[in-house]
Symmetry: C3
Subunit: 260 residues, 3 copies
């Protein structure tokens, strides 16, 4: 795993994200050994692209103004060949949201699409049955087939969070069994996963491994957090604590995943 | 009480709210068994109204852009006859704030106005003596008389937070004695109460009972939280923990209120 | 120290700040005994200036719209001769950010500039070597010389956070040795310091003493918090808890600083 590398490299992870979970996203980024810059002003995108190691985009509280900044940022990071993580929150819920998300998704340069199964279903052309930010979609063979084709066409990694997480590349599928039901009782679990994808994509070359490490770290930290939590808010505190203490040895010891 | 119903129905509670406490609002909504959607983009209001069970509006960090989205949302939810909770934060503090709030309050469709006594005083036409977000107004007979008339004219519920909470309908007044002074030591206590009103208004028909259940839940969770808190921040964690663990039996056992 | 005075006076501290750490800023403001108003709407600046005791400006997620509100607010507070704390987050990182920050810094009326060494270096005309929100600048004699000249020219206090904090006025330099490395593992430590500067500047006349009290309080609360923290998130909870419990006796007992 790559936690030691992330902590040593201390990559700067630039976010354009929602105002609901921005604090959590910054805190998990720092907890994992990276630095966080949250800058959504259009005029700053060129300069932030120069100094950052990865870009994390999250459309949770998207509007046209923020979308314009994301558009600009994607172009800048693509020019510099730097990794971009895209989190299409609540895709499929509204026409306006879908319009903005697909305009962004249609641009080259996005490296990792991190989302739940409903949202990824929409991304790859299925009906995601989306209802707000929660996923109701069950991953099946048709989904995996379509997802694989999407990765082949776009060269992107799909990082799909759920009871079982899936990381899908052109060549491999990883299934991650670590995690806690408590992560569904707080806002921002998915957003934090995207930030972790950004941290590792900013620290190592291989985006499949980066995504796998991110979701393993989150799943394992969730398990550690659950052990000593008294409810949803202490779970969140314990989760970020666990991420801030996590190391590669712990991840190797606790990891439950397979690559198929 | 209606916690079991809320947890079973899992209503989607759509918020247009401030960026200061949006995270807390989402987390208490989820803790109470509902789902949270925080979407303030004008172009999305029609679609979110279709899939949500209730709308919570909070004018904490209001500006004209967000106000336009609230205006649109109120119209959409009213057309669909879905409940709307309105939290006129810091009403009476600035002319611009009052202008926007009263433009929204003058629309039909709002079901519950949740606020502190200063803010409600402004709503019903008294001088609220507002100073920022804190209330300095003491509830008296004139206030209760005016408040009752307001509910008769508008068919709205007034849910008034304070040392003693008041829930006022056309026919009834409930006084809730549960609560903790610690709730005044954190930002967002009032905002969270509005979210809880949204959760129960999204789960049951009777808006008076929904508001009563919301303020009882918050008051009782505050008492539970206070018992094990070491300061204001651990109080906040414990409060959300307590909400995430709360059930109807606990509420019945601890509830201190009267209906007059 | 001035904690008792702050708790007794309960000054209203008006913030125009970023959406990432606004919740933390409000909570530390309240924890220290003040009240917090977070209002960035242009049309409200005149009214909020009238009722507030101090203004805290933080350019973390700045854009042109928010900058306009800050401009308006500075003018209003200056007219009323009320203190203004300015936190030029990530100054030196982008041209757009620098443009906005210096336009604001060039206005009269700012009382305290609170920032890390990289940011202050930019403020006083040195190369801050800025990289995102983190400081890489080491304070040296040239820096101190330039800083002193800046305070003489502008009559401002410089409150510089770091491993050692510096508070610089025209006549004095204070060095604060209290603090914890854990404060670098969370987002918003600097923002919270600015809020505390606002609290004390809103409570007492002497802005040098106000800044010193703010950074001592933050440093000492950090030390108390570290003792019982299991990671970065519990540190944040413990930090705000400690601030909410802090008193002048504790500060006097634990304070490690010198005035040179």
């Amino acid at each position: 795993m790559f936690i030691k590398i992330a902590r040593e490299k201390n990559p700067l992870i630039h976010h354009i994200t929602n105002y609901v979970t921005a604090n959590d996203c910054a805190n998990v980024t720092i907890a994992m050994g990276a630095s966080a810059a949250m800058a959504d002003f259009y005029e700053e995108q060129t300069d932030f692209a120069k100094i950052s190691s990865a870009l994390v985009l999250n459309t949770g509280t998207i509007n046209q103004l923020v979308a314009n900044s994301m558009l600009k940022a994607i172009k800048e990071y693509t020019l510099l060949n730097k990794p971009i993580v895209f989190d299409p929150v609540a895709l499929g819920v509204s026409k306006a949201r879908d319009g903005i998300n697909f305009e962004l998704l249609n641009l080259k340069g996005i490296s990792i699409v991190k989302a739940n199964a409903s949202e990824i279903a929409s991304v790859i052309g299925l009906d995601g049955k989306a209802r707000g930010v929660d996923s109701t979609f069950v991953i099946n063979d048709e989904f995996l087939e379509k997802a694989r084709k999407y990765t082949q066409k776009t060269k992107r990694i799909l990082a799909i969070t759920g009871k079982i997480d899936y990381i899908i590349s052109q060549k491999q599928i990883a299934k991650v069994y670590n995690g806690s039901i408590m992560a569904t009782k707080i806002t921002g679990a998915g957003c934090m996963c995207a930030s972790l994808c950004g941290v590792f994509a900013g620290a190592i070359e291989d985006k499949f491994q980066a995504s796998l490490c991110a979701l393993l770290s989150f799943g394992i930290a969730s398990e550690i957090a659950q052990e000593s939590s008294s409810g949803s808010a202490s779970f969140r505190v314990n989760l970020i604590d666990a991420l801030s203490n996590l190391n590669d040895e712990e991840v190797k010891k606790r990891a439950k995943y397979e690559i198929i």
